[in-house]
Symmetry: C2
Subunit: 303 residues, 2 copies
Amino acid sequence: MNFDITILGSGSAVPTPKRNPSSQFINCHNRKILMDCGEGTQFQIRKFKIKLQSIQIILISHLHGDHYFGLAGLLSTMNLLGRDGQLTIYGPEGLENILRSQLKIGDSKFAFDITFKTLFGKEREIIFEDKKMEIHTFPLKHKIATNGFLIKEKEPLRKLKKEAIEKDDIAIEYRHRLQKGEKIMDASGKILDLDRYTYPPKKARSYAYCSDTMPNESNLDLLNEVDLMYHEATFVNQHKARAKSTMHSTAEQAANFAKKAKAKKLILGHFSNRYLDTNTHQKEASAVFENVLIGEDGLNIKL
Amino acid sequence: MNFDITILGSGSAVPTPKRNPSSQFINCHNRKILMDCGEGTQFQIRKFKIKLQSIQIILISHLHGDHYFGLAGLLSTMNLLGRDGQLTIYGPEGLENILRSQLKIGDSKFAFDITFKTLFGKEREIIFEDKKMEIHTFPLKHKIATNGFLIKEKEPLRKLKKEAIEKDDIAIEYRHRLQKGEKIMDASGKILDLDRYTYPPKKARSYAYCSDTMPNESNLDLLNEVDLMYHEATFVNQHKARAKSTMHSTAEQAANFAKKAKAKKLILGHFSNRYLDTNTHQKEASAVFENVLIGEDGLNIKL
């Protein structure tokens, strides 16, 4: 099943011709999630041919403008294009109030239902869960309350070994239970051998979004062995002091963090507009962690 | 001296690949004015190579999102790029509060000074005036309080007739006063003949911005003989009923209004995203008014 991430904005607060402010679109088992929503996100959604109305969940990491100034316009367009499907927005305290004020002064009403859920950025929490996936939030270390997000699929089903199943004529009703790894006693009182009839399940895939933050090692246990980690890398080593004072990270710090978390792959983003290219980010991160990707607007990564 | 308009956004509430939401940049005698500021206006400013920090005045017509959702991001970018020059924003009640709330929840402060001036959309007013130009506001007829704007240059100076000036050896100190049309008595007690020494001044140029509105004939006297009128034309005749119920205009209504105002030229904009092109707008407007321009993002018009 699908689990992929599309980068909609890989820039930081000052947008550039190539990099919009932060936003990502995630499709996890056809659950469609928008992660942050900087100005112009609705233009990027159109440009990269994502179905606007397919978005069911919006996660806002924090209330610096480059992470949410596109939200009001996005919601307005959803409404004008006839949305009726419910939408849930998870975001910091104050977001709902701003959006409702904007609706009120425009004397506007939406024809679809929005549920706001407030995140306080202070503790870990499972904020969404269904049979296919779950979303965790975890606190980051930034100037204002900021949430990271971990999207994990539920453990996939075991794959059936067809030959053995057919040979032993295993009843249809047992097959799905075998896939789920259940212990089954058949009509004759025999326990079915799971390894005879199924392959072990694939490992559940996971994606971590570490939005604006200094490296926050208290999250290492939660993010251990994550398949893909996005970590902001606003700066390079030359501006390490600036990274510290603004509570952002350098590319090397992001890579060190990914290494300690034993992440399989790291994608960097939120690059300051002061850099003409990301060669130094790539070089400094690759020196400590081998599997580094540079985020680019429009880049799609399949897990 | 310069008096020109650049269309930054010619679309309406739902942006399209070719049309951003409403915004225009006006240079009148090097006074730099931004008229409305839909989402993505800062991207358009960059795209069309306008100097962001040159903007001194921002006029917001009303508080539907497609006219102001780009303002918070624009101000933030001005600040991050080191602005220290003062900025004045004229806009409806509620705008300042929204922007200040956004700053507050982001724990952000701007290093430059913003003066907010509230417009109520209920009566005409001269909101800005200096020696080169003046800005009038006038009420429009829309679903919420909406302001139109009229930018008029002050009457230009008379041009000197060099030959006569030199022939009669008119003193240097009289020349600028002659340009201003003053009645001057020279040292010998003779009144200087204005027509002998100067040509009549060019007519003062003017630009009217009729943002979201039904045609509002109570403004015809103020806008009489305006050089360029922008008038919204969200719809074509086929959707006249929709224009009425949403308090917008059709292209034909806009053209009729321009005709009654004896405007020299009309530029249309705020086209609904339902239309694939503007051929019908052009056709229906041109049937009643000859000098019709279709607004396009990036179009620059010199007065």
